[in-house]
Amino acid sequence: MKFLGLLTVLITGFLLIQAERDFPDWGDVNSPASSYKLSQHYITQTFAETSVPNMVTAVLADYRGYDTMFETVVIFTAGIAIIGILRVFGSNIKPDHPEVVLTKKKPDLIVETTCRLLIPIIQLFALYVVAHGHHSPGGGFQGGVIFGASFILLALARDLQYAQQWVPENRILNLAGIGIFIYAGFGVASLLLGGNFLDYGVLTAIIPGDVKDAHSHSMLGVEIGVAFTVTAIMFSIYSSLSSNGHMKEGI
């Protein structure tokens, strides 16, 4: 196995070095990737077409919105997959493997208080990241992950069941699904209004403002959808992994 690994690495490495000989220099503005109309269009036209200053957000949620929808689906798939693989439903609970010894957590005043103070701030920040994704780094993914992380923090600080009182399993999944439905909903709405899938331009019929505003607002909408899904699934994955699928007690 070691030999095989080494061989693979050597061959692949050799190939990659071969490829690298022909690369443009690092940071070269005239490299094809930088000078081709594709990236230039995104840089120069994004604002004119969507009125979103953060090009990454605009490309993510609009030009390549189709990709992003599936990116969300990847997350969702992972969540469902992990439930499918690990989750043990009902009474069919096997005893934990004896090597895994989990001590019941004692409430710790410092940790608990810190968390109590921190978590709302984290969540607020997450919301800001989602909402302000148009103008600054951030967006649905980042915000969603941070929001999900706040619940993970809660589960770590207290225990999983406590966190689950706030976000029970079913509700979590519903939230994830709703997130994707929001995203796809924008697509379907544009289908119904006579445009192509995810063509936010035609949404002017239901969103106030001109075409650019429709793009901008729809992007915010889909980012919120993404945030929902990511939040939910991050926590769902954590609960499954940390409780070995039983959803009883975490690590």
Partner: protein, 505 residues
Amino acid sequence: MTEQAPILILLFPFLTAIFVALLGAKVPAASWPLTIASLGASICATLTTLIQVLENGTIRYYVGGWAPPFGIELRIDGLNALVAVTVATVAFLGAIYSKDRVESETENKGPQYYALYLLLAAGLLGIVITGDAFNLYVLLEIAALTSYALLAMGNKRATLAAFKYLIMGTIGASFYLLGVGYLYIKTGSLNMVDIQEQLIANGLQDSSTVQVAFIMITVGLWVKMAFFPLHAWLPNSYAFGPTTSSSIMAPLVTKVMIYVMVRMVLTVFGPVYAFEVLDWGNIVVWLAVIAILAGSIGALAQKDLRKMLTFLIIAEVGYMVGGVWLVDETGMTGAIYHIISDAFMTLCVFLFAGIVFAKTGARDIYAVDGLFKKMPITMIGFIVGAFSLIGIPPTAGFFSKWYLIQGGINSGNWEYVIALLISSLVNAVLFFRIIEIAYFGKKPAEGHIHHHGDDHTKISEAPITQLIPLLGTAAIILLIGIFNKDLVAVIQDFLEPFNLVAGIR
């Protein structure tokens, strides 16, 4: 709405998947009908698309209304319209089969199973219809993640195999991603057609980066399609995963990867680059020959029914890879036709293996012991599939071999022709061994231990939800065999502009 058909192909299974996942917790019984309905709708959408393509030529659907290369386009021509119909149909038939088996094989995770199943179907359909190289990667990962999970729902061995698959699959997908990155660094584009235009416009024929991009993409896809030396993940995962999972994955996953390879070779790099600038045709055909022989020998060594079939998949992958690299129009036609016919053939035999497992609880080939008497209808379905894999007219398998061998002779790759013939003969041996056991109803002399023992006599015909897909598949195999001319006409229309080298070298 017909101009929206391309996106609907995907939307039906994809949105239903999420719906099933949510609703499943409350109403598990609704999962199956929803699955069937959405896949049925997806078939309709694929057929609509196919008809449109046949009437009006290539469909270019701009998602989000952005013209490529700025936005993502779905680009549907004769090739992927056909493959999409195949994928949707196989998924549909496999879903029907799942009904009675899911609960027992996946530990009461029906809704999750169906959700993942639909997502897998959606992922594969998405891979087939997309015209964007990076979008393809994302969908590849959806298909891969669902596959891992669907397999890991099986028994111990399947779980380990799923892990192996996860590692290998990630390597494959990452290689693909890296290759796309290399193309991007040299062309600045992600749209498949645009990449090719840029490759030509910028004169990148000799660029080592593009060469390595080609290797990385091809090898990455080879890993994913289990081309011979890279096949290690396949046999155990398909053989020990739930039969329901392998009945969709075995026919589709490898075949869709071959489609992607064809797409990459023809649309992204272009045949001139792939076959003439990089003159590796002979090496790859030799690799394919080795793959065919290795798959056949591997299959001969197996006592486990499904494992034997998985080795046949490896051999069939060799057929198609070799067919593509014959650099011959007929060979390419054969390879593409084989994508379609092999999907149904594999489905047919895997469904049969699933039914046998469901009925007898045994995995080895002696499980079919005396089944001709007990389940004649099932056996008829199986025989059609088996004949097709052997290559007996008028099944689809015969015609794909017909074209492939023709391509092999045309391009002078005799080793490939011989390998095909040997593999046909091995298939004949394998399947007649099974037919013999089923027909003679003799227990093996060595006193092989059966898990089932005396309840053997109670075996009767399979339930209707398992018979319908099996017989449906068998009928399709015969139909695409008998009407292969029309199918091939579509494929040849598609291939015509590529102007592949024809004639005897």
